[in-house]
């Protein structure tokens, strides 16, 4: 362990503050799943990923991460900044004119840490598979990680990719699903039910593990375990339960904060529930 669990929890608290302040500042963005995935991103970037914040697009020898559900850009930007890819002060430019921190992540403005644009849903897993295949061709031992939303699994391209990876034994790939059960129009089970995701992934040939994405000890352990499963002929899928809005009592567990910004008063209340541990930007 590079950090203790409580140290990681402290970082995640700061990341949650960053997310809320970024979205509040421009009164737009997606706080719900950003909060829900703060623990995953913190565990990944501060504990699990073999990466170099002196960013190179190729990332030879490194682990690569791809975000498919690009709307949760605030949490990714915060974690990239907090782990040294760019100055934390740049978070203040989120969604503003001439910023590298576009509403959805992109390579277009050259933001370090981002290797593909995402936002239009359902495309990230395919890209991650391509990057994983390239590493295999090159004999590069780095791993490839991807995160998808659960609602995003309604996009058909995911199922093309889910079919491809086990058949081609892409076993240097760890995909996680943010299983929060919410999407813009309501709970996934009411919009278009995902039914038994674990059984579906297993039927497609993935090695599926489950985890609690809002328990730092557990998600860290799950990602380390996932890593130990690589190189055994199957891609790994981490079906990660989270709660949208986790960490703020009035935001938790509802789709209502998927894409809504907090007011001044709501921000103050929310920040009162999240310890400032590394200094606000």
């Amino acid at each position: 362990m590079k950090h203790s669990i409580s140290e990681l929890e402290d970082i995640a608290s700061q990341v949650r503050r960053d997310c809320l302040r970024m979205v509040h500042a421009v009164q737009s963005g997606h706080p719900g799943a950003s909060l829900g995935c703060a623990d995953f991103f913190t565990a990944l970037y501060f504990e699990v990923l073999n990466h170099n914040p002196k960013f190179s697009m190729e990332g030879v020898g490194e682990d690569l991460f791809f975000l498919s559900n690009g709307h949760i850009s605030p949490v990714w930007y915060s974690v990239l900044a907090r782990s040294g890819y760019f100055e934390v002060s740049e978070l203040a430019t989120f969604r503003k004119l001439d910023s590298r921190l576009q509403g959805h992540p992109t390579t277009h403005e050259g933001l370090p840490g981002v290797r593909i644009a995402s936002g239009s849903l359902g495309q990230g897993l395919s890209v991650a598979i391509g990057a994983a295949l390239a590493k295999k061709i090159d004999g590069d031992k780095g791993l490839v990680y991807a995160l998808m939303g659960d609602g995003e699994l309604q996009e058909g391209q995911n199922w093309e990719a889910l079919m491809f990876a086990p058949f081609h034994k892409v076993d240097n790939l760890i995909a996680s699903v943010d299983y929060n059960g919410q999407q813009i129009d309501g709970p996934t089970e009411k919009v278009l039910s995902l039914e038994n995701l674990q059984a579906k992934f297993e039927a497609f040939g993935w090695h599926v593990i489950t985890s609690d994405g809002n328990d730092m000890a557990e998600i860290t352990k799950a990602l380390h375990y996932a890593k130990s499963l690589t190189g055994k002929g199957k891609p790994i899928l981490n079906l990660m339960s989270t709660q949208m809005g986790y960490g703020v009592d009035f935001m938790v567990g509802t789709h209502k904060w998927h894409g809504s910004a907090p007011s001044d008063a709501q921000l103050e209340t929310a920040l009162g529930q999240l310890k400032e541990t590394a200094g606000d930007y």
Partner: protein
């Protein structure tokens, strides 16, 4: 006229297959992907010699485009292969976000473009792909005219860094460009110098333009024929130089008149040097089942249609 003759007929897709095989030999970063159309795309030679650099994705074009984008990240040069319809319209958003906007070095190689796909009919005969692809910022769009040019173009796009759409076709047609040609992206090829009318053609229409030029010569009309293989970026200098000399232009393409080469030329002329233009192109229509030759006649893409357009546009000269 009679500047160009041919001794054999081949399909442009075989030019792609030969070019891809050669590209694989020249650069170990070249990888090929196919969505269950290996035979149609003539990828067999590449697959035989470089099986470890070939990815069969199955009938899943969206996934293929995403995988191709991901492959570029470690420096691979992916060439995707499927029909033009499934290379563009079916996967437009994947290309837009994961390839064009992300500026990935993917070569989208598209066979069976246009009416000359023939009997399979309109579901497979895309006539909108040039327009779709040229509207994407940063996308290079190339439509070579014969086997040799397609092979040369395939090798040229390997050397170019950035996303490219390479469009070619199914039928066997005359091979008339030099075997050892140097293919320069964005550089027009002067097929025949003339003074009375500029005929600008791309893809399968270039040989038809040459045939039209021979008929025009018999009528005493001296046509300048230019092959625009690269629709984007357009060789504006070559087009303007010619039109300033002849004073009128006919554009020829196996594509909808909306969104194709003709509109690119019209934009150039209206913003720089006004000259009358006629379009030999499909008149905002889907295709249908028939032989390629029957379709080219019905949809008015024959040499006689080019001749008629040339005569018409010359009357409009000021």
């Amino acid at each position: 006229m009679k500047k160009y003759t041919y001794t054999e007929k081949k399909d442009t897709r075989s030019g792609f297959g030969a070019g891809l095989h050669e590209a694989g030999k020249r650069n170990e970063n070249v990888v090929a992907l196919c969505a269950d159309l290996v035979g149609s795309l003539k990828m067999d030679a590449f697959i035989k010699d470089f099986p470890e650099r070939f990815v069969q994705v199955g009938i899943a074009e969206a996934n293929m485009m995403g995988i191709a984008a991901g492959l570029t990240i470690n420096g691979k040069i992916p060439f995707t292969g499927t029909f033009a319809n499934f290379s563009t319209g079916r996967v437009y958003d994947q290309i837009r976000q994961s390839i064009a906007y992300s500026n990935k070095n993917v070569k989208i190689c598209a066979s069976h473009a246009g009416l000359t796909l023939g009997e399979d009919g309109a579901t497979h005969q895309i006539l909108e792909d040039i327009g779709l692809m040229k509207m994407l910022p940063g996308m290079v769009v190339i439509n070579p005219c014969d086997y040799n040019q397609t092979k040369a173009a395939t090798l040229a796009i390997m050397e170019y860094e950035g996303p490219v759409y390479l469009r070619f076709g199914r039928p066997v047609i005359p091979v008339f460009t030099p075997e050892d040609q140097k293919f320069e992206i964005g550089k027009a090829w002067m097929v025949n110098e003339g003074t009375d009318v500029t005929i600008i053609a791309t893809g399968h229409m270039v040989w038809r333009a040459i045939e039209a030029g021979e008929k025009l010569a018999e009528l005493g009309i001296d046509a300048e024929i230019i092959n625009i293989h690269t629709i984007k970026p357009l060789d504006e200098e070559a087009i303007l130089k010619s039109v300033k000399k002849t004073g009128c232009v006919v554009t020829c393409e196996e594509h909808n008149k909306f969104g194709g080469l003709g509109e690119s030329v019209a934009r150039l002329l209206t913003t720089t040097y006004l000259a009358p233009q006629e379009f030999v192109a499909v008149n905002d229509s889907f295709g249908e089942s028939a032989t390629p030759d029957q379709l080219m006649t019905k949809y008015k893409l024959d040499p006689s249609d080019i001749v008629a357009a040339a005569q018409k546009v010359m009357k409009r000269k000021v």
